[in-house]
Amino acid sequence: MHEYSIAEGLVLTIKALKDKEGLTKVVEALIYVGSLAQVDREVLLETLRILGPEYGLEGVNYVIKEEESIFQCNYCGYVWPWSEVRMNVIKELCGDIEDCDNPIHLIPDLVNVFVKCPKCSSQDFKILTGYDVKLISIKGERDERL
């Protein structure tokens, strides 16, 4: 469900960039997804393809670049990836339901509320890589006669 909102935001952003750059067509959009956001890749792609044409974005090739989220503790310096804690955190937040709309999926920044450093259990850690969902860039065509 939440993928729909992300897709809507991305499509709006692509459209704004297309207008700003004066493109007649967007050919490719490169999208960054950190693993922490727990985005369902297929659902996101499908929603982008459905929503795109409503914003004048037809035939765009959406490319998703996924990156593992990695954290570093501000107290003890320990570095760990999301995959190291993911199972336990999701179980705590969702119980037996897989893919529940857990708060970290909705707002990745809330990871500090629900995750602790595996070494010293501090909640004060930074996200080194794999933060949020972003539009990296777009490729498009210009009408050269203009």
Partner: protein, 246 residues
């Protein structure tokens, strides 16, 4: 790299006729209480009202309005606010419950952007935003994206008025509009009008305009009343004179 939330945020706020931001710089002077009272009064006057609780650490609006439970509902296109006494309320509390949220600067700004861009308010006559104490991330992120009217609140003491003056200077630098100031007598002391008048002169000289000010009286049982969605008797007049300016 572009943030997918920014364009959404601008779109989302288009359906709101008036945005009112309640702040003070100082803690515990009655921001959340005032926000709740204005919201209840506007609702009583038949307006569609939403309240965004921007106090990420001390989230209190749902609590003040008598609803400490409640979870966010995720629907197509975003987050659905809960409804309390006919007022739509969005708060971090709906995501984290009573867990502490130890968020540093950037994290806080992002959370605020998420709430602003994904909350589905629908058409509103008024969106009231309750700020936390302080003059950092929450205020700076908000004023970057949201041009609203700032209602300020303080208590009639030197220490509190002094912080208010700093807050006014900051808002003035950020080109924010300050139509009115509420002097909240929550300590139930004898109000020193000369002191207030001096500070109002100082504020007028900073912003080159004289904001309206009203005194909100001490209210017995304010927490019990607001939790039931009831407006205390003594506040209708001062609140109505504030509403004129928003």
């Amino acid at each position: 790299m572009s943030d997918f939330k920014e364009h959404m945020l601008i779109n989302r706020l288009r359906s709101i006729a008036n945005i009112v931001i309640v702040g003070s710089g100082k803690g515990g002077v009655g921001k959340s209480t005032l926000t709740s009272i204005i919201a209840l009064r506007l609702r009583e006057l038949g307006k569609d009202v939403g309240v965004l609780d921007m106090d990420l650490h001390g989230s209190s609006i749902p609590f003040i309005l008598g609803r400490s439970e409640g979870k966010v509902e995720v629907v197509k296109g975003g987050f659905k606010p809960i409804e309390v006494h006919g007022i739509k309320v969005m708060s971090l509390r709906l995501f984290v419950g009573d867990k502490p949220a130890p968020l540093r600067g950037d994290r806080k700004s992002e959370v605020i952007k998420y709430l602003l861009s994904l909350t589905i308010w629908g058409d509103l006559n008024y969106l009231l935003i309750d700020l936390p104490p302080g003059m950092s991330d929450e205020l700076l992120t908000l004023t970057k994206y949201v041009k609203g009217k700032h209602i300020l609140i303080t208590i009639p003491t030197r220490t509190s008025m002094d912080v208010l003056v700093k807050y006014v200077k900051l808002l003035d630098n950020l080109r924010c509009i300050i139509p009115a100031i509420v002097i909240n007598n929550l300590l139930n002391i004898k109000v020193n009008y000369e002191l207030i008048s001096n500070y109002m002169n100082e504020i007028a000289s900073i912003i080159n305009r004289r904001p309206a000010y009203v005194v909100m009286p001490f209210i017995d049982d304010v927490e019990e009343l607001l939790a039931k969605g009831l407006l205390p008797d003594g506040v209708i007049d001062p609140i109505d004179s504030i509403i004129k300016y928003i």
